[in-house]
Symmetry: C3
Subunit: 274 residues, 3 copies
């Protein structure tokens, strides 16, 4: 059922404007290409409005924000909203500094992104909960697990109701929530957390999936992107030689996305709906 | 005949100053090393003049331009000109925003780069033709093909005559033109367009090849760089496992450049002269 | 004996704040993860104090410095000092421009980093010696060799005594020096110099190793990081297929760090103490 969003993205080839961090930007560009979309990166105040206008979706990632790029995020975000383009916010490191928390909240309130994707600590920081980021990683105490699953889903659904955004919290268990629906996704491998930027990559690909989908199906498209990333992580891991590690694993995950099709995703996707 | 420029670059080991985008900069640095040259990246207004002065060539790429780096491009470009260093302009995304088009034209007019390398839509945007960029990709309607080849060559030769630059338009068919000569190059694979930054990489390597060549042979050195990139793309593709995709392919192309020698290039280069 | 610092880093999982260049930043993040630590990159003046405060160590790399990031380096450096966090300075390109030389000296004097790691030309530039950088590479005339080994060690010990920093000069032979002790390290391969950023990667990993070690053992932890990088380079090289080159080699070195353990390092480390 989610596989169709893989095909749809390849068919529609959405053009995605990314204002993103310089740490993982190359991988973000390659995974957007791998899923059949096209990336463009632009963060200068004087051109972001024009760039966003020719695109289909906007991916805002605050990973290495500065005052110049924050201004660009706001300008591009407002223009994307005006044009009814999809906007995704990845609040990298929200909770780690007040600048990040403040900026992410400001984008959330003023731009009202269609999707917010982060780790659970970042989402909690946005929701004024006890989210204690460990830098750009989620705090162990915040982790979604079998024992707090119902409570976590209730929190994310409530946050979705409050903000109007699809809310995606990824980790060992991934949750993709609207105000009244939730996907609980079990794809992926723990080793993915030893690669920098799997979250950033997922946000870029998710912007593409959601931009390619009909408006009423955005929740499913977001869930399909999460399953694609996780399934790619599983497929890629199976191809690793014993001496290969996190750097090669990163390449192979993008490779697996490059080969992903609807049939494979429908076979590999592991999720429940609540 | 073009293979000698591979050897020459390895022998001369030119030092290349790059003011380039943060998306593909790591691959640009690695391919410059792979072809036997040395890269240095520096974009601060207060040091670009000094950095360019110790280098042999300057690669200006506007892929993630901002007002600070635009000023640096002009300062470095003027200093490189004054010192008779090779200057290459890669007008990434010209046509996608007026800032990019304007900046690329300003560099073209004030710095008079020795080489301009872009996709055909970017070149058309510089020439005030109907170039309609699709973000950083060429528009399908602009593509150079068998049916419009003569017309495309005539356009690029005229643009070279007007600007004094060697003009290189890469795509399925690559064209390397001076005012009165053209190389039509058939190396490369369609899958290369699914990797971010093959164009940026080529521009970096081309700056190295042209910087290492005698002034009268710059057109041939530029053509040799295009053939090297394309042949590396073919060699790399042959080494891909069935499950490998665009991310690994990117690495393998740089690897193939690392192994390129004059004999291999002379065997693999596929071009006509017009 | 040095292997224990591999285990200690994996056990302590230090969080490392990096203000570093955009060329090699992704590899720096992945190698910090590979050695068991966690990276965070942040360079905005308004947040670097907060980010450094939640971290265990600070890695300052001037590879693509600009006035905004120089200010951030000073703020973060002073805060890290105040909190007794480990600070490492990588003076990329010191000697190549007066801005770089001046900035690196200013950081050295005002922040008094615990460790300075560069190539021998960069260290000489900081010490007002005849260091003649060739861009970001050491000058051949400066190279540490068997014939000038005693003299090089004496110079670095004296510079360590003068600055109070552990001084690390890497190249074909690596030297890790305090005022009265020196490790002369023979791990690594010449092919590593054809990869962009092996020095930057080492600096990031070294910040993690030193941050995880007891204060009295920082010299050993720094030496362990050098041996880990060199041994990883040897292990990775053994896994390269004949057609693989510098781009794949870069991935495989990080992979080998990901697999490094104390036993392997104790077997593979090749050094003398003087």
């Amino acid at each position: 059922m989610l596989g169709k969003y893989v095909d749809l993205t390849r068919e529609k080839q959405p053009l995605i404007h990314n204002i993103t961090n310089y740490v993982t930007v190359n991988d973000v560009a390659n995974i957007i290409l791998a899923c059949g979309a096209s990336p463009i990166m632009a963060d200068e105040v004087d051109e972001v409005k024009a760039i966003t206008a020719i695109c289909n979706g906007l991916n805002i990632n605050i990973g290495t924000l500065n005052h110049r790029t924050i201004e660009s995020m706001m300008i591009a975000g407002n223009e994307a909203r005006r044009l009814n383009h999809v906007v995704l916010l990845d609040p990298v490191g929200a909770g780690a500094s007040s600048l990040r928390t403040r900026t992410a909240k400001h984008i959330l309130e003023e731009i009202e992104p269609d999707v917010v994707r982060g780790n659970i600590s970042e989402i909690k920081a946005l929701a004024n909960q006890s989210g204690k980021a460990r830098g750009v990683d989620a705090d162990v105490g915040d982790a979604v697990s079998a024992s707090n699953l119902d409570q976590s889903i209730a929190f994310l659904k409530a946050f979705s109701a409050e903000t109007g955004s699809i809310v995606v919290a990824t980790g060992a268990i991934d949750l993709v929530c609207s105000a009244d629906e939730a996907f609980v996704i079990y794809n992926g491998r723990a080793e993915m957390s030893r690669i920098t930027g799997t979250g950033c990559q997922l946000s870029g690909m998710m912007t593409a999936f959601v931009s390619a989908a009909p408006k009423a199906e955005r929740l499913y498209a977001a869930a399909a992107a999460v399953c694609t990333m996780g399934a790619a992580g599983e497929i890629a891991y199976a191809h690793l030689a014993p001496y290969e590690g996190n750097a090669t694993y990163c390449r192979r995950i993008i490779d697996a996305v490059d080969h992903m099709d609807s049939k494979t995703l429908d076979q590999e996707a592991k999720y429940e709906r609540q």
